[in-house]
Amino acid sequence: MNEKLKGFIEEAGWPRVIIGLFLLSLFVAAPFVQVRVDASISDTLVRFGMNGILVLAMVPMIQSGCGLNFGLPLGIIAGLLGAVTSIQLAFTGMLGFLTALAIAIPLAALFGTAYGLLLNRVKGDEMMIATYVGFSSVAFMCMMWLLLPYTSPTMIWGYGGSGLRTTISVEGYWLHILSDFLSVQVGEYFYIPTGMFIFFGFMCFLMWAFLHTKTGTAMTAVGSNPEFARASGIDVNRMRVVSVVLSTVLASIGIIVYQQSFGFVQLYMGPFYMAFPAVAAILLGGASVHKASMVNVVIGTFLFQGILTMTPSVINSLLQTDMSEVIRIVVSNGMILYALTRKVQVKR
């Protein structure tokens, strides 16, 4: 028994065991402070589904040795452009959702290529440069959101008659289009967004399958030892660009899935900090800066989003004041800090 436990802990890694136990204790404590467990679990599941693909977007770049994709906002912007264009065209339901994807993916591929070519010139400093690619693209788009000629009345500022609003509702277009597919509602509070899970699972499968192809194998080798890959006739730079494109495309898909569940398209500074929770989640899941698997994605997203959902509500109820936003910021940034300090150790 003891041996088994030791084996399990070694397999999962101490950080995950500790955070898992902490999350469990939060669920146990919840009923005592009048927080509904079923609603909490449901919240956690929904957030898990919303963020899963954004975390998955980290995998290709980690595998190819480009490090953590702090430039995630770039892909998210492609997704946002897809979303607002689809609303502008006034497509609703599944058609609207698919249109958003159809516009976002080629854009993301385009952005990703340029971003990948840039990263190839700064080998060794990818993560630093990526962070600023993300930040500056957000800043640039802050201007573009005002200037782009969108006209749909649901999206533009009421008073001036031009420029997009900061928050745009997708209600009436494709709200919960994935989440509600085959969804399960138990009682008033418990809800499982089955469709979103299926879609997330499908994306994970595609990523897994890709890593089992010849190109995927080559990409992993590039991340593991670029010199080896080059000596085996691999075009290292090309593989890196492919990985960056994949990551950017996944980010654009991820944000659209996020929006259909969340209900709003957040422009302007919305994408600014999106990279950090995704980075933290995959590191918490046990990925290193060089290796990541689907398991890391799933476990990491669940733990990170679980803590993020539970800590504010439980502590809020304990303290009997409303400071959930403060706690959320403290917890999420604390976890990011923790996860980033882990990254060196995990590497070995």
Partner: protein, 543 residues
């Protein structure tokens, strides 16, 4: 002589992780003597000097055996600073100068002459003013002692290499209690004329009573300045001799010679080779530290062709260049087909494979399973172990075929591992090398380049690796070009051996040629074909 020698090292021995690099080395050095320390790369010269200096690496790896006596007293240096205090100076192969400082500032670094000013009262001695005129005097004195022409105000970045080397030496001379100076290949970067000046300087210093240990690959220099010579080979003292009683040729023989019987064993009398398979014409390769300048040779079908030479002379660059790993030029033909250089994929597809000398850096995916390491190159260049799905749209990795194929290689090469899924980093050096060989065999090459196949692996594994190469050559007719620093290894397996010196082939010999011939080719003291280089040396020889 009855006086106590300045330095006496007694029965020095050293092991690195069970690997013996020095055994029972003893020698003495009198005041004002110059000792020439010669040996091949890896003979133990650097380790011996590291022990003398108390370099931390020695202590960290378990200390050493034997005693070091300075002026008859046993000394143990905990770190190089202690050695400096005791009057031992070290002039490194690489420069350790501050680029933006002048010669004077570098020479007197941290030993500057200073003057009092009032800030000292507040902040202490560290804030004394530099006494520049006095510093200049001291620097000039050191430079004059060395007998070279060096401007004390010149900034290091503006100096020719020779002057930088002089600055380094002058810095050691300035120390007041300097008794013993170790010079590690100080002439390697110098032109012949500069080297001459340096050698003159060394003689002057010796006349003033400073002893020196001089490490150099240029035997003629050793002959010129040293009083006696210590030849190391495989961590043992092979010969200690007075310079005037020996010759360059004899020293070369001591350096490289080894048990001859072993080399000659099991060599079939006459092997028959086919047409030339590889033709190399005027190849140059820009590989850092292993520059190839102008190399031409042919390798015949079925032959094992050896490339030897000292480190840094360019022997490793040849294979790396032909395989496209470093920028290269010139003409290379495989059979009739020209090889486009600078494109690893092309070289691989043409039917060549390469086992890199940099096993961990280039040869292996350390974090990945052994299976991947073995099949990766074949998979990527020949679509082996790939299943086409959806009409060729998806190239799926066939893990079953990979496992089966790598199991075969693991069994055939006796790779010791728990399974093919084990990560390559967990294997011992010898087994890692076998994985590298398996990787090359999996490509089924017509021509196989092997670089330093036995570096850093133990004796048993060495034997296995060499046997494997020989078997592959005999059974499958694979032509092999093997590069190695170990001459004996080349002589035991190769049909012909080319020796590379300063980026050029200084000669091609049969393995049965006397060992001195090889030694002389390596040291560039004789040779055929590289004109100007040769002329330089001849002039030098006559002086």
């Amino acid at each position: 002589m009855e006086t106590t020698p300045l330095l006496r090292m007694e029965h020095i021995g050293k092991e690195y992780f069970g690997n013996r690099v020095l055994a029972d080395v003893s020698f003495t050095l009198e005041k004002g003597q110059i000792l020439g320390l010669v040996g091949e790369n890896g003979a133990g010269k650097s380790t011996l000097m590291n022990i003398l200096f108390g370099m931390p690496v020695i202590g960290q790896t378990g200390g050493f055996e034997g005693k070091v006596l300075l002026d008859g007293k046993e000394v143990v240096f905990a770190d190089p600073l202690d050695a400096l205090d005791a009057g031992i100076g070290y002039v490194h192969q690489e420069f350790s100068l501050i680029p933006g400082f002048s010669a004077t500032e570098n020479i007197l670094l941290n030993r500057e002459s200073t003057k009092y000013n009032f800030l000292v009262e507040v902040f202490g001695d560290r804030l004394e003013t530099l006494d520049r005129p006095h510093m200049r005097e001291r620097a000039e004195k050191a430079i004059t002692t060395l007998g070279v022409d060096l401007d004390p105000e010149m900034i290091v970045t503006e100096m020719p290499v020779g002057h930088r080397q002089f600055t380094e030496i002058a810095r050691e001379i300035d120390r007041e209690n300097m008794k013993l100076l170790v010079l590690d290949e100080p002439t390697a970067v110098l032109a012949e004329s500069e080297a001459q000046v340096l050698l003159q300087g060394m003689k002057k210093l010796a006349a003033q009573g400073i002893s020196m240990i001089f490490i150099s690959h240029r035997l003629q220099e050793i002959m010129d300045v040293c009083d006696k010579i210590l030849v190391l080979r495989d961590g043992r003292v092979i010969q200690e001799a007075k310079t005037h009683e020996t010759s360059v040729r004899q020293i070369a023989g001591w350096m490289v010679g080894r048990k001859m019987e072993e080399a000659a064993e099991a060599r079939p009398a006459d092997r028959i080779f086919g047409e030339p398979l590889l033709k190399v014409e005027h190849l140059w390769v820009d590989m850092p530290g292993e520059t190839v300048r102008d190399v031409s040779f042919d390798v015949r079908q079925g032959e094992i062709f050896g490339i030897g030479g000292l480190a840094g002379q360019g022997k490793l660059g040849i294979g790396n260049g032909i395989m496209g790993l470093f920028p290269a030029g010139g003409k290379v033909f495989l059979g009739e087909a020209p090889i486009y250089l600078n494109d690893p994929r092309f070289s691989l597809s043409a039917g060549m494979a390469f086992v890199s000398e940099d096993r961990r850096g280039v040869g292996l995916l350390l974090e990945e399973p052994i299976e991947w390491n073995i099949v990766f190159t074949a998979m990527q260049t020949q679509d082996a172990y790939i299943r086409s799905l959806l009409g060729g749209l998806v190239k799926w990795r066939d893990d079953k075929a990979i496992a089966a194929a790598s199991k075969e290689y693991i069994d055939a090469l006796e790779i010791k591992c728990t399974s093919g899924r084990q990560r390559a980093v967990e294997l011992s050096g010898g087994n890692q090398q076998k994985v590298c060989l398996a990787k090359a065999f999996a490509v089924k090459p017509k021509l196989l380049f092997v670089a330093e196949p036995t570096r850093g692996i133990d004796v048993g594994a060495k034997r296995l690796v060499l046997d494997t190469l020989r078997r592959t050559n005999r059974e499958f007719g694979t032509t092999i070009v093997m590069t190695s620093s170990e001459l004996e290894e080349l002589r035991s397996i190769c049909d012909r051996i080319a020796i590379v010196d300063e980026g050029r082939i200084s000669g091609i010999l049969p393995p049965t040629a006397p060992v001195e011939e090889f030694g002389l080719l390596m040291l560039g003291t004789t040779g055929n074909g590289n004109g100007e280089n040769e002329a330089d040396r001849m002039v030098y020889h006559n002086e």
